[in-house]
Amino acid sequence: MLLLKPIYITHTSAITPQHQAEGRLLDPLVADTDGKLQVIEPDYTAVIPAMQLRRMSRVLRMGVYTGMDCLRRSGCECPDGIITGTGKGSMTDTEKFVKELAQYQEGSLNPTPFILSTYNAVNGAIALQTRATGYNQTYVHRGSSFETALYDAQLKLNTVAATQHYLVGCFDEITPEYFLVKSKVGYWKKERDPGQSLWQQADSPGTLAGEGAAFFMLSNSHDGAITGIHALQTTYKTPVAAIGQVATELIVRNGWQPGDIDMLVLGFNGDSRDEPYYEALQQSIPGTPPVLAFKHLCGEYETSGGFALWLLCQLLNGKSLPGAVWYRAPDKERFHPRKILYYNHYRGQNHNLILLSA
């Protein structure tokens, strides 16, 4: 199998349920409200022109703001490519459009919700603002949407010799209807002890609902890199018993050994149906490396991996993380991991593995 060259994250931006200042997560951490972790929204008018803003629903604002903010931080005015992943796109616009279809009996419908319910609306808005006419792609691969976008960026950046910069991100939202429908099929935890961490309550099904937007500047040049993405793999409906083997094969294929991994980023979500995968993966890595968890901070959603990567970048950028972030904290106060394995899955169906270096 062809080994791809790593790609590098140079800048990040995110809208999250947690308070932040200059990209640093602030203590105290924000807990969920009624089983939901909803984002703290910034002043969008600072970044998005008013005439565009008036048409955008919440998740579009989140996505466009974060993408443009990431570009601003990087100093890049026009990226060579824009790639995003989203599990649901703009649910608000989709729900509005579908409701109007029924209400007006498929008669004349408002065009705006239809146009903006399309998954690539965020990419389009960013491309219009930056006049970016290069590669532009949106992946809607449920729980592997973001990781597929990252993988596409790696493939694209491996095809060119010159230095290029891609804007890669993800966005998803909770709407009241979505929360209600998914609560009926047992997605969310019914009874919880707020005094315990999410993963300590994995003896019952259900988790917290989440949302967020995260964007990254990716380059094939190492200059200014926060971290390198070496290899990505997405799999579908991998059994618990096989996940360790999948991870080991990816590590070995990349020229590393399982014992080289000195930090894990795992998507523990407190759901008794989901936790065994993370436990199984831990068993495949020798020793007890520190484990960064993230779904107690951002909730469960299809593109929560964007939050995880943003959080990891804060750590690798030398910013201290609140102690409650860790599933298994490092022994040393100043911890500098070198080889990192990220594993996150969505409802046991979409499994995502990434090898990163610092």
């Binding site: 005439m51 004349s108 065009p111």
Partner: protein, 85 residues
């Protein structure tokens, strides 16, 4: 007629989500597109939906639509002459 224009302005503000704008901010005769209110082609589709839902008016001819949607005054004139409800 004056009441109709105020109602129409309110409907335009709501339909196009013109945040921070009040009916009195829109001049009756100012162009809705281009230099005036600065609306665009998607807004023109929204205004056509507005006319159909609120007044039963369906604009079939794009050229005619351009003249009807020129300003609040032209819209109100057309509504008064052609409204179904």
């Amino acid at each position: 007629m004056e009441d109709l224009k105020v109602t129409l302005k309110q409907q335009i503000i709501e339909s196009l989500n013109l945040q921070g704008m009040k009916p009195e901010d829109i001049d009756d005769n100012a162009p809705l597109f281009g230099d005036g209110l600065g609306l665009d082609s998607i807004d023109s589709l929204e205004l056509m939906v507005l006319l159909e839902r609120n007044y039963g008016i369906k604009i079939e001819d794009a050229r005619e639509g351009r003249n009807i949607l020129a300003s609040v005054q032209t819209m109100a004139d057309y509504i008064q002459a052609n409204r179904k409800f």
